[in-house]
Subunit: 354 residues, 2 copies
Amino acid sequence: MTIINKFRERDIISLITGLLEPESKTGSVCRPVVGPGNDDCAVINVGGSGLLVATTDMLHRKADFPSGMTPYQMGWMSIAVNLSDIAAMGARPVGIMTALGLPPGLEVDLVKELVTGMSACARRYGTQIIGGDVDRHDELTIVGSALGMVDAGQLAMRKGAKPGDMVCVTGELGTAGAALEALQQGREVDPEVLEKFYMPVPRIVEGMALAGSGCLTSMMDISDGLALSLHDLAAASGVGFHIRASDIPVHRSVRDMATIGDIVVDDKVVGDMVVDDKVVEDMVVDDKVFEWSLYTGGDFELLFTLNTDCLENAGKVARFTVIGEVTASGITIEREGHIEDVEPRGFQQFGDKV
Amino acid sequence: MTIINKFRERDIISLITGLLEPESKTGSVCRPVVGPGNDDCAVINVGGSGLLVATTDMLHRKADFPSGMTPYQMGWMSIAVNLSDIAAMGARPVGIMTALGLPPGLEVDLVKELVTGMSACARRYGTQIIGGDVDRHDELTIVGSALGMVDAGQLAMRKGAKPGDMVCVTGELGTAGAALEALQQGREVDPEVLEKFYMPVPRIVEGMALAGSGCLTSMMDISDGLALSLHDLAAASGVGFHIRASDIPVHRSVRDMATIGDIVVDDKVVGDMVVDDKVVEDMVVDDKVFEWSLYTGGDFELLFTLNTDCLENAGKVARFTVIGEVTASGITIEREGHIEDVEPRGFQQFGDKV
């Protein structure tokens, strides 16, 4: 008997998509343009000039809502994670459905706050809750399904990056990792970092602007962490990446949060050198920030590639940071003069016992 | 503290939809034409001549999958319940997303069978699984989200029935109630009845044909039972119904299943009459069949109303049964010469302690 937890999340998705009908090659009306497991959203040609994009995400209390989150924030997050996938296609959200699994003993006021948070997030990004389902469930479970529309010529996909393109991200990374570790250790979290973690900003505005700029060659969201996303984008586009760690944008409080932690320095001998406490502490802090910004999920930013001759145009429509270049193969990161491989790890739902 | 289980399912839905933005009056492009809680699907004008319809349904092992169901049948059912909502709008399905909550100890082969059943149901009705999500969950949970397209002129809605119209249903009712009771009592179930219960047939073909006939005035599916659906349709259309119990189509095995049960006759005095065993047994059987076909959920058939001058046209495109008429108000049923009110009860997820 082989159990699900022997597989990693991406292997389970491959196993499932392998059982489904292959995607349509033609993109004819009402046939999927993008098949399951291949992008942030499914894409359907519904006739007319627009394409429909659709995505679904399941969240539940134990895994996805750290203690301390208000019901309003849970509602906001459950919508934001779906809108982040819509943003990754360069699409405009047109509606969200939500299926709620509610424990029968749940307080009604909690449900009201939850729905108010959902509705607020949807409205903030120009859309609304258009339908849903309620179900009795042991654990609070929220499944959002978001729909968006995009002009066929502006659809952003994971496929399309080519060697020489610039690799870019919106916003700042590492906040989710820093917040989660601080919460787990019972330490105080910078309120701005905590809000970014609990109420992520789906990059709808940036996604649409970048898609409309004509400069994009590929895009996805980095909800499972930058490292896993680089691997996904590389696989979809058939390219490699070279990233500069020093160029990854990090929130100013994230470095402070790494220093506040209970750092235990076991050994002051690094390589052949004996170094003083301050140097060792700096190295530990660097390691933490590196881990949070590269290998930790929860930062709902966009990762995308741009034509090199298009930087100025793209910069006029959205704020972002160039963090590296597209290469022919390999996924590497330069860090303090050394080059290392980016490991394919990040947030995974399964695979504890691989 | 008021808990969710003090409310009935429809009250929870009203509570939630009351917190959301009112539906758009204009039906302009990419604004919902039908708001949350008002029909079997949300409806969005996505430009062009077609309307997008969308629905989501959450199922989970304990409540929705009776023991004895195979994973393939669970997969089939989880897609069929969503397609039934698409059918109720007269729409053609164009894609289904599925979010799977999987216990980490679940066997991989079970997941494969489940997905194969999902895919088979989707393909049987001309569509496919276009995307989804996997999540780690204590209880097997399946959330389907189905999308469909319908020409604006052929959209079927709950609103539109008018006094004098005929009330009709597809297929046969009572099978789910009969099967569930037999399973609960450990009795044998007619294989045909069991298959109809485990692998419901979404009435996609009939829904599209009826919508295209130009004869429909309103339509919905009766997944929560005929009685609750009559109340929903009456509320949406601002009308009443008069139904004839003897005209409700019942599967030939359902009556047999009612007689097979352990019927305990407590009292042979009915009214002022003393009656013999056979008569009392017949009455108990009638009561069971009546309860199963009117007040039990799980029969995924369509309930709809037709213009009276259109019966012949509609009969050419789909098989159905006329069970009553639309009236100005009140929801009544005629049964063996007596007329009684149809109670607003059926399948409800919540409200045990009302």
